[in-house]
């Protein structure tokens, strides 16, 4: 009985160690993946910001045919006046 109990303890101890080591490896793998995704996110954010700079937008708007107005014309609306009865 004692031998059976000690054997079970030994086997469970080995299994637990294996499970813990596997979990540790998984955690390590997930940490690396998290770091990779975090780096990629920053890289993509940086790329996005670069494409949204004023110079880039001006260049793009120019290539799309938009031009800055040279002269502005202000139109004054006629003031309403009381009509004769």
């Amino acid at each position: 009985m004692l031998i059976f109990f000690l054997g079970a303890m030994a086997v469970s101890s080995v299994l637990m160690t294996v499970a813990t080591a596997t979990s540790g490896a998984e955690v390590s793998s997930l940490q690396k993946e998290q770091a990779r995704l975090s780096d990629q996110k920053r890289y993509l954010e940086g790329t996005l910001v670069k494409t949204l700079s004023m110079d880039q937008l001006q260049e793009k708007s120019g290539s799309l045919g938009y031009v800055k107005p040279v002269n502005l014309v202000y139109v004054a609306l006629p003031e309403s006046v009381a009509k004769l009865p």
Binding site: T20, A21, G24, S28, Y43, V49, D55
Partner: protein, 570 residues
């Protein structure tokens, strides 16, 4: 036989004793050091860097965004190529222009020298290189070269707003720290707080979960949302650069502020620097002249002095000057007008329109030195405005009670008093907004993950009556419509403004050849959207601000009017 057994027993006994002594040595005497060595093998600890916060424009686009960068290092004991071979391969990636043979050679020599040091096991080769460079170097597959993640600042608008933003440099410990401008003023909240993770790792570097972990999360730096408008800032910078070239000035500054709440909409000075390459510029360019340089304001201060006279009730807009028929003798000095023309009985409105120094001396005399001092103090002259940028200075006013008649006369037309640009903008904003002194500010909102808070500033304080502000505003409108700068005004728009041509004090006297030019104004005159100060240092094209700073003010204002919805009043 018995003897043999005894001898064998003694040998075993001796061996047992030796083993026991050795075990005692390792397990008792050397226990502590061996235990530490073992812990060092499986324990790991790592500082978690706190990402520095970003700086945003008024439209929430980025002025500064923190990006991934890399520290490239080498282990000279592991490198397989010669230092020269490695330096030849790497140096083209580390210079801004690989076509520049001089800088390429210098970089190559620098790398070869540091790689030649065989007595160390880790050498930093280059800080903060971008992803693209890292990938290219990785592709070369050079043994003994490694990469550590770092943080870098990217400026989408390049050197725009450099003197507002400041830059991120290193402190004496080699850690990132903000210098000047927003980076310097808000360094602590931008930096955040680094975290820590500690635990045990096996031979492959995987965590041993049974060993337990200690983790303190890093607190990210906050993002700062500024009131700086990219479109206005870029328009101001383009206009200023063109104006400096056109009028042959040594430099200049433009500040645009919302007079209602003190929000800075744009602030530009030239010469300036590129914050991404700050180490290549002179330290003198890092400070923001608008908050760090003082100058004699000259005639632009007249509006504040006139406001003081009106508010104190010693003059009215129609009051006529009874000492304005000629140059005024004060002590041993003769006070003249800028064009040596005199206007007997000139009204106070026309004193501002004509920028009459004798007329302003009349106002000064009516006020008296102590009352003028009190009003200048109320307008914030001689004290820091409290703007949230690092590096603000405030030249002091001469102490109250020590002003003589000459000090009183000259101060009333802006001489013998030193101000910063931001002080002048704040003072005139008080006229523009109906009499309230506001605190200029650049950052409006601080935000972090799912949390944001408005930056609080002291409440505006009333310094002159609304009636006084209205009267001075009308005088400034008349100055634009009828004064020396009338040729440059934009027809139909209601603008209140004042020119200033000031002598430059040099070693106890005034520079005979050069003057500083300025124009300060706001628009529309009623319920203004912005107050703007333009200053030009020693322009050569004309001796008068009406022909340099004033047209520059209007050329920039012409860009701002449609954007800010300012329509013609006529």
């Amino acid at each position: 036989m018995l003897l043999k057994i005894r001898i064998l027993s003694i040998v075993f006994l001796l061996l047992f004793a030796a083993l026991s002594i050795r075990l005692f040595y390792w397990q008792v005497i050397k226990r502590a050091s061996l235990s530490d060595e073992a812990k060092n093998q499986y324990n790991s600890s790592q500082i978690i860097a706190a990402p520095r916060g970003n700086i945003l424009a008024s439209d929430k686009s980025f002025w500064v965004v923190r990006t991934q960068a890399w520290l490239i290092w080498a282990n000279p004991r592991q490198i397989e190529l010669t230092p020269r071979e490695i330096s030849n391969k790497l140096s083209p990636f580390f210079v801004s222009d690989p076509g520049d043979a001089g800088s390429l050679l210098a970089e190559s020599q620098r790398l070869e020298t540091i790689l030649g040091r065989g007595d160390v096991s880790w050498i930093a080769l280059k800080q903060k290189v971008n992803d693209e460079v890292k990938r290219n170097i990785e592709a070369l597959n050079i043994g003994g070269i490694g990469f550590d993640a770092q943080e870098s600042s990217y400026y989408p608008e390049a050197s725009s707003a450099a003197q507002i933003l400041g830059f991120v440099g290193k402190d004496e410990k080699g850690s990132d720290i903000g210098y000047f401008g927003i980076e310097g003023y808000y360094d602590l909240p931008l930096s955040g707080k680094p975290g820590f993770v500690g635990g045990q790792k096996d031979a492959f570097g995987s965590p041993i979960l049974l060993g337990g972990t200690k983790e303190v999360n890093a607190v990210s730096g906050v993002d700062l949302e500024t009131s700086i408008d990219k479109r206005i800032q870029v328009a101001v910078e383009k206009g200023l650069a063109a104006g400096i070239g056109k009028y042959g000035a040594l430099g200049g500054s433009v500040t645009v502020m919302d007079p209602a709440d003190g929000s800075i909409m744009a602030m530009a000075s030239f010469p300036s620097f590129d914050p991404a390459k700050y180490s290549g510029y002179s330290n003198s360019l890092f400070k923001n002249p608008v908050i760090s340089d003082s100058f004699e304001p000259g005639s632009i201060l007249k509006v504040a002095v006139m406001a003081a006279g009106l508010d104190a009730g010693v003059v009215q807009p129609e009051t006529s000057c009874d000492i304005c028929s000629g140059a005024l003798k004060v002590d041993k000095y003769l006070i003249k007008t800028w064009n040596d023309r005199y206007h007997p009985g000139i009204t106070m409105t026309d004193v501002i329109v004509e920028s009459d120094n004798v007329g302003m001396s009349f106002v000064g005399q009516k006020l008296g030195a102590d009352r003028l001092y009190d009003y200048l103090h109320k307008f914030g002259i001689g004290e820091k405005t409290g703007i949230d940028l690092q590096g603000e200075v405030a030249p002091k006013l001469r102490e109250k009670g020590t002003w003589n008649v000459v000090d009183l006369a000259t101060a009333s037309f802006g001489q013998g008093v030193a101000v910063t640009g931001i002080e002048m903008v704040r003072a005139v904003a008080a006229i523009a907004n109906g009499g309230y002194l506001v605190t200029p500010k650049v950052v409006g909102v601080i935000r972090s993950d799912g949390w944001e808070e408005k930056v609080k500033t002291p409440p505006p304080t009333r310094i002159i009556s609304e009636k006084t502000a209205r009267e001075v505003t009308q005088m400034m409108v008349e100055a634009v419509d009828r004064g020396e700068a009338k040729w440059t005004k934009i027809p139909g728009f209601s603008v209140a403004g004042k020119t200033g041509t000031a002598q430059i004090p040099v070693a106890g006297h005034y520079d005979a050849a050069n003057t500083n030019h300025s124009f300060i104004g706001f628009a529309p005159a009623e319920n203004p959207k912005f107050v703007m100060l333009v200053t030009l240092n020693s322009p050569q094209s004309s001796p008068w601000a009406a022909e340099t700073a004033a047209p520059l003010w209007f050329s920039i204002a012409k860009e701002l009017f449609p954007y800010l919805g300012v329509a013609p009043s006529q």
